[in-house]
């Protein structure tokens, strides 16, 4: 067993009645890391947290916390605290009493209690609100009380179930940064749940992408985004274009792949045989657009002819919807670049003829899935 894992799930499965919710989950969470469970609604993220907190029992497999098997331990005896999706603050208690709830149960009293609670409230910038009731606070403030109420217990691991999903965009962004800073400062292991891929990528040390009760991929945000291991992960963590191809010549790790009647030579860590069908995945920002007058004739021979279908101005970028002449639709993101005369070149018109290619090596080649 790895010694740096505070939490370890081994072959954990869980079903409600006949409906299987988690299938053979294996996961090791390292001490002090910010791990995010990312996946669509209903994929089992909350269920994993509930198993860790002790509200549910696994049907099979082991759950180890700090090396100890947790199955027999009720929630109140686990060294884990949860920030609930609905906050679940006690409406009849003041902010102070809400935060003091845990420490009191640990026998902290008097000046010690006062100090510890206020310290937690200071951490979330709510020390002036200690006499209020939860009902008198805004959503963002309630969120922060929920965080203070959990971290004041100095848990080994903090579980956060979509803690930001109820907040509006701006507040969510601000809280993402605050949470991340808090986690660094406290050094507590965070297991964070979200269905928002941007949130997951920007906050986490590692991300576990989940689908239908399975972990599809576990890795750093960069690994998840740049080298997705399957189509689900590729599509779930951000927009991606899929080009269909067929392997025509093999020279591992290089493969000649026929894409829309053009042969491209690409590198892949997968092993393919000649004749295999593959998907070539390219992020919108990795596609390059050439205008009709750009590039030499021989350069052009390797490009894909297309037409601009739609232009979406987004402030710092311009998104183009491109239709290849063979019918595939691609979405691209072009950045304004002030060092470049490109700035004038972003003035695309719908219907305009263009050529498309991508920065080779930035694509991901995956076996075709039906």
């Amino acid at each position: 067993m790895k010694s740096d894992a505070v939490i370890e799930l081994r072959n954990v499965s869980k079903a409600y009645e006949r409906h299987t919710v988690l299938r053979n989950i294996n996961l090791q969470v390292r001490a002090g890391e910010f791990l995010t469970l990312l996946g669509p609604s209903g994929c089992g993220k909350t269920t994993i947290l509930r198993l860790l907190a002790g509200f549910e029992q696994a049907d099979s497999g082991e759950i180890l916390i700090a090396g100890r098997d947790m199955r027999a331990l009720p929630p109140e005896q686990r060294h884990i605290n949860t920030v609930f999706q609905s906050y679940a603050l006690f409406p009849h208690l003041t902010v102070f009493e809400n935060v003091a709830f845990g420490p009191r149960l640990q026998g902290v009293r008097g000046a010690d209690l006062q100090e510890r609670v206020l310290e937690a409230l200071r951490m979330v910038k709510l020390e002036d609100y200690s006499a209020r009731r939860p009902g008198q606070l805004s959503g963002g403030q309630q969120q922060r009380v929920a965080i203070a109420r959990a971290v004041v217990n100095r848990p080994l691991v903090l579980l956060l179930d979509e803690p930001l999903s109820a907040l509006d965009y701006k507040l969510r962004k601000a809280m993402q940064i605050e949470l991340k800073q808090l986690q660094r400062r406290l050094g507590i292991t965070f297991i964070f749940v979200t269905h928002d891929q941007e949130e997951a990528l920007s906050m986490s040390d590692r991300v576990a992408v989940m689908n239908a009760g399975r972990i599809e991929q576990l890795g750093t945000p960069r690994q998840i985004y740049e080298t997705p291991e399957n189509l689900f992960v590729a599509r779930f963590v951000g927009e991606i274009n899929t080009l269909f191809g067929r392997v025509v010549a093999v020279d591992p790790p290089y493969y000649d792949i026929c894409v829309h009647e053009r042969i491209v030579r690409l590198k892949s860590k997968f092993i393919f045989a000649s004749g295999d069908r593959v998907n070539i995945l390219i992020r919108p920002e990795d596609l390059r657009i050439w205008r009709e007058h750009e590039g030499s004739d021989e350069e052009r021979a390797t490009l894909f002819p297309a037409a601009v279908e739609d232009v979406v101005y987004k402030g710092s970028t311009v998104d183009l919807i491109i239709r290849l002449d063979n019918g595939d639709r691609l979405s691209t993101t072009q950045f304004f670049n002030e060092d470049d005369q490109a700035i004038v070149n972003l003035d695309f018109q719908p219907g305009e003829r263009v050529f498309v290619d991508w920065v080779h090596d930035w694509e991901v080649i995956l076996p075709h899935e039906d």
Partner: protein
């Protein structure tokens, strides 16, 4: 909006007339009667006096009042002790069973409580069902004296008033957010702590409402004391009834009645104050 004015006036007017005729007027009459003198051959003589109120301070009548308060309080506490676990199970039960249990709570309302009190007489009397059963089982050798005792009165009042305790408790417990209980567990609380620090405070409005709905009627229920307590138990309700129907001392009966109404009003005011305090700072 204009077209609805007449309807509004008729609706509101009807309610006010009704209340004025059947609530305000009788109470006003009781209040007036309570400060009149007792008449020779009429019910009262039209002369002002506070004699009836002074008579109420007689230790004899004060002890009746204290007995009544004590019995009503005891009834309330017993109803709470029986009603809370029942309401808790009711709120936890799956939807279908819950409907059935609720029906069981409500069924007694289909019969008048007077009739139900007579049913208790049949159960409790010397050769009643309970004694016969205990004798039949050989647990006792001669019948127990059950009827015409204070416990019989308390049992009868609990029986009559239990639904009024259960229903508000159920309403409060059903609203209780289960996630708060999980949150308390998560923060390290065991069952007892959760019950004391989360469940009870959050269902307090239901507890108070149930206590009011049990305590206030318990003060005035004279027929239960009559039928199950015999002549031994004299409560405020009996006292008032006797003044009007037996002693024919209407001013004194009115004074006792006015005092009871005043006492109830005071309790309701206290309830209103406490609920206002509890609501301050709760969810808007």
């Amino acid at each position: 909006m204009k077209t609805r004015e007449p309807f509004k006036w008729v609706a509101v007017g009807t309610i006010w007339t009704w209340l004025a005729l059947f609530a305000l007027l009788p109470n006003a009459m009781v209040l007036v009667a309570s400060v009149l003198e007792r008449g020779q051959d009429q019910f009262f003589a039209f002369a002002f006096t506070l004699a009836s109120y002074r008579r109420l301070l007689d230790p004899l009548y004060l002890s009746v009042l204290l007995d009544s308060l004590y019995l009503a309080a005891l009834t309330t506490v017993l109803c709470l002790l029986i009603g809370y676990p029942f309401a808790y199970l009711l709120a936890q039960a799956p939807a279908r069973r819950r409907a059935l249990l609720l029906l069981l709570v409500i069924i007694p309302f289909w019969t008048s409580s007077l009739v139900r009190t007579y049913a208790m007489v049949i159960l409790l009397k010397t050769n009643g069902l309970i004694n016969q059963m205990l004798l039949g089982l050989g647990w006792i050798s001669e019948p127990l004296e059950l009827l015409y005792t204070t416990p019989a009165v308390i049992a009868g009042m609990c029986y009559a008033l239990l639904p009024f305790m259960i229903l508000p408790l159920y309403a409060a417990l059903e609203k209780l957010d289960r996630r708060l209980i999980e949150a308390a567990h998560d923060l390290g609380a065991g069952r007892v702590t959760i019950f004391r620090r989360v469940i009870i405070p959050l269902t307090l409005p239901g507890i108070i409402a149930g206590a009011m709905l049990t305590f206030l009627p318990a003060l005035g229920m004279f027929y239960v004391a009559d039928l199950l307590g015999g002549a031994k138990t004299m409560l405020v309700g009996n006292l008032i009834r006797d003044q009007f129907l037996a002693a024919r001392d209407w001013p004194f009966g009115s004074a006792a009645s006015a005092m009871l109404t005043g006492l109830m009003a005071l309790l309701m005011w206290a309830y209103y104050q406490s609920s206002r305090r509890a609501n301050r700072g709760a969810l808007p």
